[in-house]
Amino acid sequence: MARVPFGAGGGLIKNLSDNSKHPTIICESVERLYQQGDVTVHALAGVSLTIECGEFVSLCGPSGSGKTTLLNCVAGLDIPTSGEVYLIGNKISSMSKTELADLRLNNVGFVFQAYNLVPVLSAQENVEFVMELQGMSKKLRGEKARSVLREVGLEGMEHRRPAELSGGQQQRVAVARAIASEPQLVLADEPTANLDSKTSASLMDIMRKMNEDHGITFVFSTHDQLVMDRARRLVRMHDGLIESDEIQS
């Protein structure tokens, strides 16, 4: 699938041919154990999973099934007890914290359930945040931020602080921030958990559109049926294991 950059001028087009050769995510027998007193919790009990570039994947399963742990391991935020994770062709276990930080900064967008935004920055500044960390010029990142905010339907709200936005609007700013720097991959942990069904549906539509228009790979966790229905691939988890993995029509 072709990836189309944001903004009229384009400008930051990455060398995709190199990265596109690799699957976006490979997990090989990933285990993550937590010791709680005498009890060992198998948050992940041996997960093997490959996600190709451009997929739109939902991780679902009951609370405690290991969705968050898996997303954290994929992002290199958490370290598997055993097994191996490859993120865009990079073996995570052999990278330093700084290398991982840079890999995330340039290739991975994040959307969390809540408190995604920096309260002291405006919507536009929040969207520009990642690009500013990347060292993009003020002019270019401003154009991109405005363009993405328009795409998620927040035109005219660029200068509002998060506290002045509704929950749904805040999540849309978070999505805008996650995709504005044109990452390979967006990881979203229960992005609609705090939203009503109508707002959830429209947020999913936005993410789906970003996936289709810009070729960004999305992996999101949810236990919301409405959200699962919109996924193209559905991975069900239970007790730290993959229960089923199917393509939806």
């Binding site: 992002a75 958490d78 930080a101 840079d102 890999l103 969390f112 408190y115 002291v120 960390l133 921030r177």
Partner: protein, 409 residues
Amino acid sequence: MRAVSPSLVFRLSSRNIWRNPKRSLFTLLAVAVGIWSAMALGAFTRGLNQTLVLKAINNLTGHIKVMHPDYRRDPVVQNRIEAAGAEMLSVLDSDAVKSWAARVRVPGVVMSERESQGTTLVGIDPASEVNLSFIGKGVHDGRMLEDELDGGVLLGRKMLEVLQTDVGKRVVLMSEGVDGAVADRGFRIVGAFDAELEATERNYVFVGRNVLQKMLGIGTDVSEISLRVADGRQDDVQRALRDVAKDSLVENWETLEPLTVSMRDVQSGFLHIWNVIVVIAVGFGLMNTLFMAIFERTREFGLFRAIGMRPAMIYLQVVGESVVLLVLGALLGNLLALGTIGYFAGGLDLSRFAQGLEHFGASRIVYPILRLSDVVTSNATIIVLALLSTLYPAWRASRLEPVEALSKI
């Protein structure tokens, strides 16, 4: 790609200050008060110490005194020394000595028509006192003694009150003569002097040296030679005098005025203790508020780490926030301190407390002394320590595990 974006760090730091204005204000004021108290108290303590030392030196002590070995224990006419000989004069007239005076100084009684009062009779050569002691600065009423042959007497203003007499009237001075018999003589009060301490105004009565020597029958002998030395020469001069005056006692003011020395040390000690308390309070207050600020923002730091911010930038952001507050607080503290010191530049009048202070030899008016070195030290100490106390919380913030931080709400 840059590892750290300075403008982003500055924007986050400065905006976070407004996130909890009360806490920021507290931090700012803590730093301001710390610097203000160190500078202002330092200046007043310096001023107080200087008046204390100057007073002791002006108060007929000088930097060094030569006297009979028994004079300190028993300051009577028998414990006297000969007038300076040629060897002694060669030391006294050297460059290292700024001024010197030989005095007769004996216990005595002064009597008016109505009252009598125990005091110290001091025979002086007025010209030699000019740059040496407070009496050399002249009198408040009437006239100064003209020379050592002058037959008049100078009384303190308080003494005039006690004796219920006045300038122009006569008094009788009495003391023990060299032969053990009572020596006395009538004097006309030619002038009244003012001293900072009322005690001084009652403790001394000044007459011409030659007149007192005659009255006591001691020829040209004196009780003491007092001198003021050039800066940094006190030890040299003391050693030289000891060499030429082997039978006499040669002491410096630190030995002669132990109370002044200990007062000075106690005051400096209090100032140091106070400064340590202030620095610790400011440091811990700052560290505490910063830890609270970080605790409240734990999730945010987790988010920063997740989206790829390097730990160094989180560290700089937290330190940056403190630096902005520190600079503002330091500015305010310096302005307050300079304002306070400027306001009292003409002297802080302690006369309301002066009665109590007199016991300690302190003066009624204190002039704050501000030295550049004190300004630098006060600022540097508070700022460096405040900065140090922010480094640890900032380091902790930068070391937060992103997964744990993200799970905090």
